[in-house]
Amino acid sequence: MKRRSRRALIYLALVAAQVFALFPFWWMITTSLKHQVEIFGGLEFLPQAPTLDNFAALFDRYNFGPFLANSLLVVAFSVAGSLLLGTPAAYALTKLPTESWLQRQALIVVLLVRMLPAILLVIPFYLVLANYGLLNTRLGLILVYTGLNTGFVIWLMQSFLAEIPRDIEEAALVDGDSRLSALRRIVLPLAAPGLAATAIFSVINIYNDFLIALTMTSTPDAQTIPVGVSTLIGKIQIQWGPMAAAGVVGALPIIVFALIVQRHFVRGLTLGAVK
């Protein structure tokens, strides 16, 4: 009986955590489906007269299409770019003697950029982009995000790649692979869960960024979703309905992406634990 009651307590705690985590999401979805009058009308858990007006307004009046496109493009290219740059670097680092002076220093240097608060980096980045005429362009954002995220990719991938047994790669070398073809045909497929986990963290980080996007962009030509949504907060009035709709639409790509890679992702997170 004691075990059963303990179990019940655990489930109760889990349910509470779920409600705590999911309620804001629920509130965002219901708000996006309510008329303005209803939004200000009180605490209704379900919209009394569901409407898609907010979504229509979002795209017709508030330029959400370009924001969404900018966000998707910028995220796709900067995540791909930083994975492409960071994974080979991480691979090279695993070939250094483990815990050697060189390996540790290299990893610390890589981490250095991440340790500075973004607000410190914004001004130098702004000046650099201004210098090259890249302010308010998607390319400018992609370059900045790629640079910032590569260090993160190196750290994460380094730990995933280090877990792949050396023997397996050496077997490929003896079987006739070169270093590069062994990396491509044997090492990377084995590191796929790690790549998935790294990709999803990177996507979320970059997709959520507000500060850098706000500073580097000024028009819907390059503004991303977080910046675009912020324009809904006016001096006089906050557009709660369209804002909630933006939240729903904005969350969709992440959810879809997470569903696609979740199988790898979960395996990636537990890679060390299962072994």
Partner: protein, 368 residues
């Protein structure tokens, strides 16, 4: 292809892993590198595979100097201790991987894979993944991947050490037959002297990065080159008694034993457990002792006798009647003793009688 190491050295930082390794294995030979862990045997194998670069020295496969070549250019196949199967590929894909890299046509690949899989009895598992196989099956897949390509040499790094005793016994025999039928020069690394004795054409005994002896198993058994080889090979190992030489007699407090005149005055007398008898205490040419333990092995009995501060093992018939604590004597077979110099540890006089009558390996038995 014959294999040759020429004065190969390997240093890791300040530590010498391999010092002036000089050895030669003729074409088709089954060469076993034997030694305790850390002796340099795996280093030697990895150098030959091209996975590590030697600090100095050269290596040859046939007439080719392979020292500067990449692993893939050396045309060798390797079986790893961990098997190192590709976990994301099926058994069939694992086996055909070396062929795929060499761009064989699909029909050729399938034919070779089927042939090798049949040879190793794994044709039923071709579509499975390595994680769905038992240890013994994985071992066979690793072997299949090595032999599918018909390379110039096989390198094996303790391939049987992860198997249970019975499977190891079975695979040992199969591996030996396989090597003989393929007639491909094989370098096999192990710390298990029994594997070395049973499988090898030639054994290279290594210790502390140095080659101690390169010889046939029979030679190593009968005439170990030094005290290290004597105490490492054989189960139980060779009995070693310290003593002095005067007037053609090896002397200890417990007795004397006639030998040819040795050059040094301090010597070590060595003899195999099966080359001695238990006698009455005080029998001529015997050493006085006391039975320490009696271990019946079924077909025979192993008697451990305390001679002074040393212990000596003697193999006797299984009807042996002695008890722990009994007084007795140990008399080595004069024609089969060997002598070592005490200080250098080197062999100075081999067995005097022909080892032709009874091959030395006759005494290696599983003592588990």
């Amino acid at each position: 292809m014959e294999l040759r190491y020429e004065l190969v050295c390997k240093r890791f930082g300040a530590a010498d892993a391999l010092i002036d390794l000089d050895l030669h294995a003729p074409d088709g030979c089954f060469l076993v590198m034997l030694g305790p862990s850390g002796c340099g045997k795996t280093t030697a194998l990895r150098l030959l595979a091209g996975l590590d670069d030697p600090t100095s020295g050269r290596m040859f496969i046939g007439p080719r100097d392979v020292t500067p070549l990449q692993p893939r250019e050396r045309d060798i196949a390797m079986v790893f201790q961990s098997y190192a199967l590709y976990p994301h590929k099926t058994v069939a894909e694992n086996i055909e991987y070396p062929l795929r890299i060499r761009r064989l046509t699909q029909t050729d690949r399938q034919e070779r894979v089927a042939q090798v899989a049949k040879m190793l009895n794994i044709d039923a598992y071709l579509e499975r993944y390595p994680r769905q196989l038992s240890g013994g099956q994985r071992q066979r897949v690793a072997l299949a991947r090595a032999i599918v390509r018909q390379p110039q040499a096989f390198l094996m790094d303790e391939p049987l050490s992860n198997l249970d005793a019975q499977l190891r016994f079975q695979m040992r025999a199969e591996l030996k037959r396989l090597q003989k039928s393929l007639a491909v020069t094989t370098v096999y690394v192990t710390h298990d002297q029994l594997e070395a004795m049973t499988m090898a054409d030639l054994i290279a005994v290594l210790s502390n990065g140095r080659l101690q002896q390169l010889a046939t198993p029979a030679e190593i058994y009968a005439r170990p080159a030094n005290l290290f080889v004597a105490s490492f090979c054989g189960s139980p190992p060779m009995n070693l008694l310290h003593g002095t030489v005067t007037n053609g007699h090896f002397q200890r407090a417990e007795g004397t034993f006639p030998i040819d005149n040795g050059p040094a005055s301090e010597l070590v007398l060595g003899f195999r457990p099966e080359h001695a008898q238990i006698t009455m205490r005080g029998a001529p040419d015997s050493f006085a002792g006391e039975i320490y333990v009696v271990e019946p092995l079924g077909s025979e009995t192993l008697v451990s006798v305390k001679v002074g501060a040393d212990r000596v093992n003697v193999r006797v018939w299984s009807d042996f009647q002695g008890q722990i604590g009994d007084h007795c004597g140990v008399r080595p077979d004069a024609s089969r003793t060997v002598l070592f110099e005490k200080d250098s540890g080197q062999l100075i006089k081999g067995s005097t009688s022909g080892s032709s009558k009874q091959p030395g390996t006759g005494g290696v038995r599983e003592s588990a």
